[in-house]
């Protein structure tokens, strides 16, 4: 028996296709495993570094935004009391540069930051003409709470 008849009789084509396929599959599987071997060994040798990488992958850290500089003072009540006295002295309305200059002169440290914080807290309010007023009502409320806290009284329940 010869030729195509012989190939057909012995299932030659299917055997050849099977052979090529199995050789490729076996060697591809082997190649994939070997290519990952050094990674697996890296985990084995240094599991902590790997765990850190996994953690970062699962919970990616957001890039930290620079925090705005915090108030450079410990007690807003004390700052409010000091600036209240100073504003009474320079009169209202007042300009912020003048207030900051006077505050620095009398030794209030980080005057910019303190003034900025009091604006955010609505203790210093703008008059829409470029000048500012002192909000005595808010100041009284704040200082009142401060005194109650110092006495150990809950400001809400009295």
């Amino acid at each position: 028996m010869k030729g195509l008849e012989a190939i057909s009789h012995y299932h030659g084509v299917s055997l050849a296709v099977l052979g090529v396929t199995v050789v490729f599959i076996a060697l591809v599987v082997l190649a994939v495993i070997i290519s990952r071997l050094h990674v697996v060994l890296g985990i084995w040798e240094n599991p902590k570094a790997w765990l850190d990488r996994v953690r970062l992958w699962v919970f990616p850290e957001k890039p930290e935004k620079p925090e705005p500089p915090g108030p450079y003072f410990d007690d807003i009540h004390e700052s409010a009391r000091q600036l209240n006295l100073l504003i009474h002295a320079i009169g209202e309305p007042f300009s912020l540069p003048a207030l900051i200059e006077k505050a620095e002169k009398i030794g209030i440290s980080h005057a910019h930051s303190v003034v900025s914080h009091l604006i955010v807290s609505h203790l210093i309010v703008p008059d829409q003409k470029g000048y500012f007023y002192w909000n005595q009502k808010e100041c009284d409320r704040l200082l009142g709470k401060g005194r109650e806290r110092k006495r150990g009284v809950n400001p809400i329940n009295g």
Binding site: Y10, G12, G19, V23, A26, S35
Partner: protein
Amino acid sequence: MDKFIYFINQTGFANIELSGLAMMAIGLFLLYLGIAKKYEPLLLVPISFGILLVNFPLSPMMAQPENGQPGGLLHYLYLGIELGIYPPLIFMGIGALTDFSPLISNPKTLLLGAAAQAGIFATFLAMLALGFTDLEAAAISIIGGADGPTAIYLSSQMAPHLLGAISVAAYSYMALVPMIQPPIMRLLTTKKERMIEMQELRETSRRERILFPVIVILVTGLFLPTALPLLGMLMLGNLFRECGVTDRLSKAAQNELNNIIVIFLGLTVGAKCSAHYFLTVETIQILIFGLVAFGIGTATGVLMGKLMCLATGGKVNPLIGAAGVSAVPMSARVCQTVGQADNPSNFLLMFAMGPNVGGVIGSAVAAGIFLAVL
């Protein structure tokens, strides 16, 4: 006078045959190639001497035991082939001699070793078409793997009567790699491709090299248990080499044991080349189609190399695909030579060793497939 005539009748002169003389001439020619041309001398010298020894008229070297008389020396040594002992032991020696680092650091080159096995299966079809049985066709086509021990192992298991022709063809083509491969490599590649310089390989750790043989055995053993005699011993030899605690065994596998088995194997392969087995049309067909298988294997390896070159944006030199046939390290050296001819600063040897040892694994897997399905 009767005694004298009896003695004359017992000499080689009285029993000489033309076919025997032809085989002795072939044996002497192979001996010349081995010694003078240094073509695989470690194998060709014992093979050719074995051919000489068995083709003497009335040679008792391969005689079967009969009438209570023991058989010839080579008859008993041949049991090592018949029982499938020598090729796996040779593989152990090869494993102990081989550094698999280039393959471990660049495992995708295993695909080149796989592609180069296509020649085996193409030749299998051709041999079936020529009228060989499926077992004979498989044994002949494995020559395309360019792996002597694998070819001997498979033919001893599937077509022992073709063992002589197949092993002579396999080892002859392995010796002729520097002549067979370069024209095919140049034909299938452009000068620009041959000039490609590859990126340096990463260093492999000792742990990787120790785990490699274990992983190969686990994967191939599960895929194809019939490949275990060859691959199992190959990887055992390599484990001896890499584990660092069996230096004596590694040296024994590399040297003493390997050399002893090469002597036995060579002699007994030669002993199977007796005139009535060897001087046939089948042998000529085997020699021709062995060459075809080898050529196809080289070509498919290079073509896979071109594909990888394309896929990696020109980072792989396609020439190393030719090393996918498992003539270790001859075909890797050929890649180096052909590559350097076009780019003298190109050093492809280490890159070509990856597909080269991948080809050893690939051809053993191909042999395992034939053993499993036929």
